[in-house]
Assembly symmetry: C2
Homo-oligomer: 328 residues x 2
């Protein structure tokens, strides 16, 4: 492998001079610069990043911890993140937890060992154990999608989005509304979205039957199962159901169609996330668009600001957009 030393020898200068050429720092004569550049050109030399990192303590790598890249939300965030980071010469080291929250902790250590310049956490949980760990790791960190004190974060306005969605149903005359949520340890998706729903219902004095509230995980099939449970409540069925993700909503619709129940006539449905498929299923799905790529870009900007010790925003709440389609 060709190193700086070789370049220095071949160009007849010292390593210091080569370094100066490489980093365009300090004084270098036009003559020396030309010679060095020529040799670099000829040899195809590239500086060793590890040696560089060892010395400068900078790696130009951002670690990204996420639960999966197989669903649209995280993959869009990563796309936005990657775009913005690569503009600034940074790259992404991927840490996929596969929805295993224990791995979030493990990966934090791993990323620390690798001396990443920053960490972006597309988190699913905000347990104290994690938050404590975040505090003791003194690497710039930005969290996306979840709110947390003392942590810079970029989030969506989950609370108002779900209230808007609920109000949309109410305005259309629905009084019995079901809800398909997820586990509340996921604070943003599980807890806040549920709370928004309850609050809006309460604001209109509407009551909710216990069985209308079901819980799924993050896949389509659990949406089917949840809807099945809701519909087996024969005494009184809701006339509309809100699912906290599009996939859950799609699963719910799929079950209803199988049963010959008309959407939206017999049951109106809405999801959240504006997945690409939401507009192609039948009926097209009413949902909320969250600008995930922008969230990724914002997260990138914040992490870069943190790294460069520039002013940053501790808390960014992104706007959302209700997309009303045929499912309501």
């Amino acid at each position: 492998m060709v190193t700086m030393k070789d370049i220095a020898m071949m160009a007849g200068v010292s390593r210091s001079t080569v370094s100066r050429v490489l980093n365009s720092s300090g004084y270098v004569s036009e003559d020396a610069r030309k010679r060095v550049e020529k040799v670099i050109q000829e040899t195809g030399y590239v500086p060793n990043e590890h040696a560089k990192s060892l010395r400068t303590k900078k790696t130009k790598v951002i670690g990204v911890i996420l639960p999966t890249i197989q669903t649209e939300t995280p993959s869009r965030i990563v796309t936005g993140l990657g775009r913005e980071l690569s503009k600034n010469g940074y790259q992404i080291l991927l840490a996929n937890t596969d929805h295993d929250t224990k791995k979030e902790l493990e990966y934090l250590d791993l990323l620390k060992v690798r001396q990443v310049d920053g960490i972006v956490l597309i988190a699913t949980n905000t347990e104290p154990e994690l938050l404590n760990k975040l505090k003791e790791i003194d690497i710039p960190l930005v969290m996306v999608g979840q709110e947390a004190d003392d942590v810079v974060h970029v989030t969506y306005d989950d609370y108002h989005a779900i209230r808007d969605l609920t109000r949309l149903f109410i305005k259309k005359g629905h009084e019995k509304i079901g809800f398909i949520g997820v586990d509340e340890t996921d604070r943003a998706v599980g807890y806040i979205r549920k709370k928004g729903f309850y609050d809006e219902m309460a604001a209109y004095g509407l009551t909710i039957e216990k069985q209308w509230i079901q819980q799924g995980i993050f896949d389509i099939d659990s949406g089917r199962v949840a809807m099945e449970k809701i519909m087996t409540h024969y005494k009184e069925r809701p006339t509309a159901t809100i699912a906290v993700t599009d996939r859950l909503a799609i699963g719910a619709i799929s079950f209803l169609k199988e049963q010959g129940i008309q959407v939206p006539t017999d049951m109106a449905i809405a999801g959240i996330g504006a997945s690409e498929m939401s507009q192609y299923i039948d009926p097209s799905l009413t949902t909320v668009d969250y600008q995930n790529e922008k969230a990724g870009e914002e997260a990138a900007k914040q992490i870069l600001a943190l790294i460069d010790s520039k002013p940053y925003q501790k808390k960014i709440i992104l706007d959302y957009r209700l997309i009303e389609r045929d499912s309501v």
Copy 2:
């Protein structure tokens, strides 16, 4: 930051001994080992990976170049890849080209600079320029999804899959079959799938109208547009159409439904890829399952074998599975 030197001092041993404890190599007395481990425990010391890499020339990082993580094929591959790699202590450095083939070349350099131990290329093109570059980069490399001489690769049996799909239509009595492809610079998806289609049609002596063959890009909307073009051929319309990806097929169906054309009665449709949505759209889509996660795992195994100079397979062709659903 606490370094090996600190640990050595605090434990009252030399750095050599600390290193031996860390790597469980050479001789270390039980007594010394205990002391060192205790200090490491107390200080929370973690060795600096860059220093290590500089010395050992190993980084335990695999670079992954891909066109996007927003579609299911690459994201599934990366999931499989990541799972297998992390089992072996490797991590993924992500390089997202955003479908820009020029960036594939750039990223190859970037990954080289970072001294990644291996590169996995989820490629979209196999132009000579790229292949030449691959040869001169002497880092273990595996390509997924595209075939290429002199490069270790994991591919799908595109040719036979599309022939099977075509034959399925023919057996059902279709004689006029349309085709929605993509640009042929994507050899696997654009060229081979098209060739398989032509060959199977020819085998049955069936002719193809020029206008039945349309081209899209990799999104749903271009599938709509392509189908629209096919249907404006009023003289003779096909009774079935094969799309080379599920998204194109979904776009096509979406157009047909809008026009009140029945699927599959008036037009049968099939895609490729077994996207999650394929079973939830209406009618459910006939498609081909390619085991993308397994492809990722296989790619991981090959790259690890290459790195460890163990026996590897130059060429892996994965099996596929036809999924017949309501769209035919």
